[in-house]
């Protein structure tokens, strides 16, 4: 069962030496942090490593958290930098990161059984389409819709201007829409 205390209260308890409070903070944010890490790494094992590293880094620098922004925004900025460092360490060069086609043939990580026709719902195709997006596009969409972050907060997390985020969000949504339509059309053709 998760704690009813606010993030700030849990942080204060953690700083006072209560490690169980930090475990509660992890439980509260782990699903989104893991999802965000998945958006960057496109792989469950790597996402787990990034997410774990991110929570350890956050613990280490918890005393430097200024509380001027939401804890989640601060945490997501750590996910972003950790993921970028991780990708660089894995020697994925910039060209391949930016190459959209790299992500088209990616395996499905949504947890659905690909062969099961029952599971091929709209949500399945949406997950498939988001996995085909560039990491930045997928992260912005996830932060906006699943992380409930404002454009300014996404800007803080990704180290960008709010206006840049607005433009990137618009383009990311367009690309997601196109991919979703293409995947659905492909499926209809398969059925015919």
């Amino acid at each position: 069962m998760q704690s009813k205390l606010s993030d700030i209260e849990l942080i204060e308890q953690t700083l006072a030496g209560n490690q169980a409070a930090y475990a509660d903070l992890i439980k509260r944010h782990q699903r989104f942090v893991f999802t965000l890490a998945m958006r960057f790494s496109k792989n469950r094992e790597d996402a787990e490593e990034i997410a774990q590293d991110c929570f350890i880094k956050a613990y280490r620098s918890l005393s430097s958290f200024q509380r001027q922004s939401k804890f989640s925004t601060w945490l997501y900025s750590i996910v972003y930098t950790t993921a970028m460092t991780f990708l660089r360490k894995k020697r994925v060069d910039t060209d391949s990161i930016d190459d959209e086609s790299t992500y088209i043939q990616l395996e499905n990580h949504s947890g659905f059984d690909v062969n099961s026709a029952e599971n091929k719902s709209r949500s399945y195709y949406l997950n498939q389409a988001i996995a085909q997006l560039l990491p930045d596009d997928a992260a912005i969409i996830s932060l906006f819709y699943m992380g409930e972050q404002s454009l300014e907060e996404i800007g803080q997390a990704l180290n960008m201007e709010a206006n840049t985020v607005k433009v990137k969000l618009f383009r990311a949504r367009q690309r997601l829409k196109e991919k979703l339509e293409r995947n659905l059309k492909g499926e209809v053709k398969e059925l015919i």
């Binding site: 699903r31 893991f34 999802t35 280490r60 949504s110 997601l176």
Partner: protein
Amino acid sequence: MNTIEEKLWNYIDGTCSEDEQKAIGLLIAQDEVYRRKYEELLKLNQEFSQMELDEPPMAFTYNVMEGIRAEHARQPLKAAINPRIIKAIAGFFILTILFFVIYMLSSVHVSTANVSVHVPDAVKLPDLKGFFNIRLLEGFIFFDVVLGLFLFDAWLRRRGASKQYKGVQ
């Protein structure tokens, strides 16, 4: 110039000014193209909002907490030692030094034929010779040796743990 889609997304997100919001609302109500596109994007927006989060492994929290504990264990010796312990050890050595200084002074026999120190009758100097004996001295040396061995053992353990961690890394 913004495209229809861009205007409509701004309208849906509520990121445009109040005047723009009104103008786009009017276009949606009057223009069939705007209305259709708006409905399409609204549906898409709803779908995006219902995206599901990925589930991390069951032991995720445990693994993170273990990582944090491991990090604590590999703290440098300087940071890990409690300053109170340092102060206590320093205090002990100061007391030991004072003890030896007083013992040494009490053992020195000063004989001055011409010097006479007048001590008031009310002041009685303690007889330190009776206080210091060989057993007390042995006790102090034994305590020093035990403390030294204890600290040496603690240092070896920390060094061993640090090497083990580096090996895992």
